[in-house]
Amino acid sequence: MLVFTLFVIVPLGINIAYSTTGGTDLFLPARSYVGGDNFGRLLSCADHLTPATCRDDLFWVAVWNTVRFVLLQVVVLVIVAMATALILNSKIRARGFWRAVFFFPVLLSPVVVGLIWKWIFQRQGLLNYVLFQFGADPVNWLNDRAWAFFASVGVSVWAHVGFYALILLAGLQAIPRDIYEAAELDRTSPARVFRRITLPLLWPNLLVVIVLALIRAVQVFDEVYVLTGGGPGTSTMYLTQYIYETGFASVLRNPGVASAASLLMGGVLVVLTLVQLGLTRWRDRK
Amino acid sequence: MLKGIDLEINEGEFAVFVGPSGCGKSTLLRQISGLDRPSSGRIEIDGRDVTTVGAADRGPAMVFQSYALYPHMTVRDNLAFGLQNNKMPKAEIASRIAEAARMLEIGHLMDRRPAQLSGGQRQRVAIGRAIVRDPTAFLLDEPLSNLDAELRVSMRAELAALHARLKATMIYVTHDQVEAMTLADRIVVLRGGQIEQVATPMELFNRPANRFVAGFIGAPRMNFLSIDEAAALLPASALPAAAEMVGIRPQNLRPAESGMALTVDLAEALGTETVIHGHLASGTKMIVTRAGQLPAHPGELLHFTAEPGKLHVFDAEGVRIDF
């Protein structure tokens, strides 16, 4: 209980204390009260869609990067996970083996994931070699703003898809077999079986998976940080990296602003989590 | 939950608490064991006030409904666990376990785990765990309810034999009146947290203290009739003035040329006896059982009289009136 209070409850209070005080000092009593200044600095913008017009332009760069990342990553992730789950649920041999294959990257550390792919994305790396074999020109994957973004999405999908595929697979296996057998006797086409039987019965699980993926995508950091370091420029710098660098890594560290940013992110996450808890309840009731 | 319980159980007695579910029989047993504490009142064991004494220090041993055997220990460890906690010497533990194993014939099971035992074997181990403690009393909470019907009958006989041999005090909770009747020296009938009657099985059957006990003990259930309906068996003038209701057990009705007229709804021929379900002209349903095979057909009108002295009479509150 002590440990809980120490590392979970107290921090929340301190977080608020930091976010309302200024200066570079980490020692709380030495910090001066500035009220909502930190939030003001983060939120004041002439035009929120153009980060350059904001007082803290990096924050908004990170915000919009994260929004783009979350949208693309979650869509790709859920589609790939769904397809994988459907295929793993069909009548295939050695299902346990295939399940293990897709789950394997989930266990890898983000650093390992980042390094493996950084190596493959090298200028003279495996990917360019494959392109070369097909006669295409090599691409400077991680030094190109657009490619680096897609690479960060692709790598994080690669790393996490197995986890969601497994949750969805469990959901699929909970659908009674005899429903499918009845559909087969009715000569239902596979596409129709999916649309009219699988999807409606899986929908509660799918929703939970989507929200869970959203929650995790918003916090994206480690594998991308190792892969690109946020670059080139700031094109793959996401919110958690902004918080980390503002609070700890940069020379002019500013714990107050980092705290304020993390509270803003925390707010979004709490809303998402409440949605998830609600959905889980709703699913379990059904 | 419990109200005004005043009960004394004698040394070496086999007492059975019986009653419908929710009557408080398990609660009473748990309070005797010390697992639950009464909100008021006193509990004494061997003249010692143990109301505030913890379960482990009271003396009686308990056999749980689910047996509560430790699933990760062998039978031997299950038996030894409590004795080890008492810091008993190893040799003493071994001899007690051997004695209990011999008595219950579970010697060949000592190195198995509960999951590898059948229901009856688990039941024996659970009893063995109580025996090795050499307790002041055995508290058994519906110990046979998880067994199938056939096993229940044989375990019942074994329990009776065990009691005869150990001559230990046993308190046994059940909702099954057959178990109560066959095992008990004395039965305590409970309802709604109160004691309805404490008596020997035969006393309970022959002279139920009230309508509830009369209806609860005996199968099929006792028939209850209003004074008017019972007039065909016994004229109202012969009944005490306070009488409100008359009861007669299905076995105590005898076929006759005239008497109470019963229209047969269904006749169940069981070979050794026949159970007749029927109704009176007033619509009241009645059951009659007769030994042997009795021809009866649905729709047929039969007449019955009561065996002398077998009528039970109750007043407006349902209390028995002797006459």
Binding site: F4, V10, I87, L107, L115, W119, Y129, G247, P255, V270 | -
Partner: protein, 351 residues
């Protein structure tokens, strides 16, 4: 290739349907995309720096063959090549030196006859070789041995403490009635909602206040309070019959004995799952150790790898090798997990 007919064989033995083709394309692609990179990492980790830098790539690790040749300056180890001879045919020759696109080559057995060869007319003579120094060097000469030890220490200590504290908390929350029990559960559920990335600054200040910055315990302690673990163990303990605990209490067992000898052994399956999770989590942790640890000798393997990869002059051969090393424990867990799930299913038949 016996694999193809095996993979192509279908259950039921009916004809092929388009869904079967989609299935197999998907699975094959999945196998390549998921294991391909890992396999590539493994193969690359055994290559020499020179081979890592060459393009086009070769799949397997090779090393140039050399021969000891008596030159004018004494015996020397020289690289061997297969040379297309001007008069036709080929010969194995050693390279003395190279000027522009021309190389001076000799036959090892006749070191006096120098032949000028265009470098396009020769191919290096190579054999498969594993550059194991990629592994031994960082572990011995750099700090990777130390990082490895730090990682093992953090993982083992954090997992042990997690198991003990979480199981105690779960025991109290599942088997004792006390005032405020529901509010404690509420707090735990609430803390499930707040991820580390939100609490970085305050957690850092708490750890710094405790004087645990640049201390492995500063990495371990905050991770020990895993609400997920308490929640999971509690759900499992709720399935243990209360009668069992009562029986133990009648057997004169102390509360500690009940916890240690009854509840803990019975929670073993859930504890094993939590242990596996905890090992993987702690071994893979990155952001938190990155913040707490700034002294090089305290780095965990993950931080060490990242720092090493962030250097200006990236020595990929060492990074790749150490990455492989850091995967090994996870791989063990992975294999164990596969066995465990099968054993778990078999175990339900026993109960």
């Amino acid at each position: 290739m016996r694999l193809i007919p095996f993979l192509a064989r279908r259950r039921g033995g009916k004809g092929w349907h388009w869904t079967d083709i989609v299935t197999w394309v998907w699975l094959a692609a999945g196998l390549v995309v998921i294991f391909g990179p890992a396999l590539w990492l493994l193969l690359s980790s055994f290559k020499t720096p020179a081979q890592l830098a060459e393009f086009p790539l070769s799949i397997l690790p090779y090393a140039s063959q050399t021969a000891l040749v008596e030159t004018k300056g004494g015996p020397k180890q020289l690289p061997l090549f297969t040379v297309d001879l001007p008069e036709g045919g080929t010969a194995v020759m050693a390279e003395l030196n190279r000027i522009g696109i021309m190389a001076n080559m000799v036959r090892p057995e006749a070191p006096d006859q120098v032949l000028k060869v265009n470098i396009d007319a020769r191919k290096p003579l190579r054999e498969m070789a594993f550059a194991t120094e990629n592994y031994t060097k960082p572990l011995k000469e750099f700090d990777f041995g130390r990082y490895l030890w730090n990682s093992v220490f953090v993982t083992v200590a954090a997992t042990l403490i997690t198991l003990i504290t979480n199981s105690m908390a779960a025991f109290a929350l599942s088997k004792y009635e006390f005032r405020g029990r529901n509010s404690v559960m509420l707090i735990i559920v609430a803390t499930l909602m707040i991820p580390l990335s939100v609490n970085l600054v305050p957690l850092y200040s708490v750890v710094s206040w405790l004087g645990l910055l640049n201390n492995l315990w500063g990495v371990i302690l905050p991770t020990v309070a895993t609400p997920t673990g308490v929640f999971m163990l509690r759900q499992y303990m709720l399935t243990i019959l209360d009668e069992l605990l009562e029986a133990a209490r009648m057997d004169k067992a102390s509360e500690w004995q009940i916890y240690w000898r009854i509840v803990l052994p019975l929670t073993a399956p859930a504890l094993a799952v939590l242990a596996i999770f905890s090992v993987v989590w702690r071994w893979n942790d990155f952001l938190w150790p990155l913040i707490v640890l700034s002294r090089k000798e305290l780095f965990t393997l993950q931080i060490g790898l990242n720092t090493f990869a962030g250097k200006l002059n990236v020595q990929w051969q060492f990074i790749l090798a150490m990455t492989v090393v850091s995967i090994i424990p996870v791989l063990i867990v992975f294999i164990f997990l596969q066995r465990f799930t099968t054993a778990g299913i078999a175990g339900t038949g026993l109960k």
